[in-house]
């Protein structure tokens, strides 16, 4: 018996792919090696089983598949570099940077949430403060015709002092 096993050639031998000296070497070894003969038989069985059937790939609608492929092909082969697209090409990157900056700002201590510090008062609060008089006189404001009574709104502060 040839003492050098030929296991790595057995799969090819099982499919009848070996020729010449290589084939002769394998056959010579097989004559005297029961272990390799057993392996060859096992490999043949496995190759046969694997070739006979297998888990089917999930079904697919081939018409839709080809339509989608055609769409992808058209997108890929369409002319791309117009002046307009060149201008807008960096847009997604700019949006991403803006979002990242926003997230970093919100994540910082005192940034975006919590009470404002120092002179920094959120813009919304300024607007709200400027309308406090309207909220105090809500019953009057609700009865006004907006178009006609801009004047009254402008002079709401005088209502409380009896002027106007």
């Amino acid at each position: 018996m040839n003492s050098v096993h030929v296991e790595e050639l057995l799969a090819a031998h099982a499919r009848g792919e070996l020729e010449g000296a290589e084939r002769a070497r394998v056959e010579g070894h097989l004559d005297g090696c029961a272990a390799c003969r057993e392996t060859l038989a096992a490999f043949r069985g496995l190759i046969e089983e694997l070739g006979a059937a297998g888990p089917p790939a999930p079904p697919i609608h081939w018409g839709a598949y080809r339509a989608e492929l055609r769409e992808k092909l058209e997108r890929r082969t369409a002319p791309r570099s117009t002046a307009w697209t060149a201008v807008w090409r960096p847009a997604p990157a700019l949006v991403a940077v803006g979002l990242l900056a926003g997230l970093v700002y919100v994540g910082l201590p005192g940034g975006g949430r919590g009470s404002p510090t120092g002179d920094r008062i959120p813009f919304e609060n300024l607007i709200l403060a400027s309308r406090l008089d309207m909220i105090a006189k809500l019953d009057v404001v609700q009865q006004l015709d907006v178009v006609e009574d801009f004047d009254v709104i402008d002079h709401l502060d005088r209502l409380s002092t009896g002027e106007g």
Binding site: L10, A11, E17, P58, L69
Partner: protein, 191 residues
Amino acid sequence: MESTDEVLCRSVADREPGAFDLLVERYQERAYRIAWSILRDREEAKDCSQEAFLRLHESAGSFAGQSKFSTWFYRIVVNCCLDHQRRRRGWRRLLGWRDTHDDPDEGDPVERAPAPFVDPVESVETDRRMTQLWSAVEQLSPQQRAAVLLQCKEGLATKEIAVVLSLSEATVRVHLHRALATLRKRVGDKA
């Protein structure tokens, strides 16, 4: 007379209308089946096989005709799948996800089989063995799995598989040997 694949491929390179559609119709099922056998995900297999056709469209002119068209095209399909897997692994690693394929002992392989083998004609015992066998195939490395599938399902010779997988014939033999030895160890010999 029906055009050969090689003639159609040259027609695609010359942008002759209809040639690409014909090649797609001829190869769509095989491309999808190979992609699915490697990726085991319907959507990914669909996308990768379509990507392979797009690459075919782009590079049809580079097909020199030295190998069969099928061998050349299968290589594109396999490359698309392996590229996709590398990208997916990269993202998974970056995001700290664990790839279940990294650990072959993770979970019950029969439960993880995406599509159990069902053949009403065969006995229950044969069904069970086939389910185990294909579950074991799923746990092979992508290259081993591709080599096994290309040999056993698509009928490619070792030489052709070497071209498809961009490996030497000797390496393909090693892959096939290890794949079969692993499968034998996991499912045993047929009774």
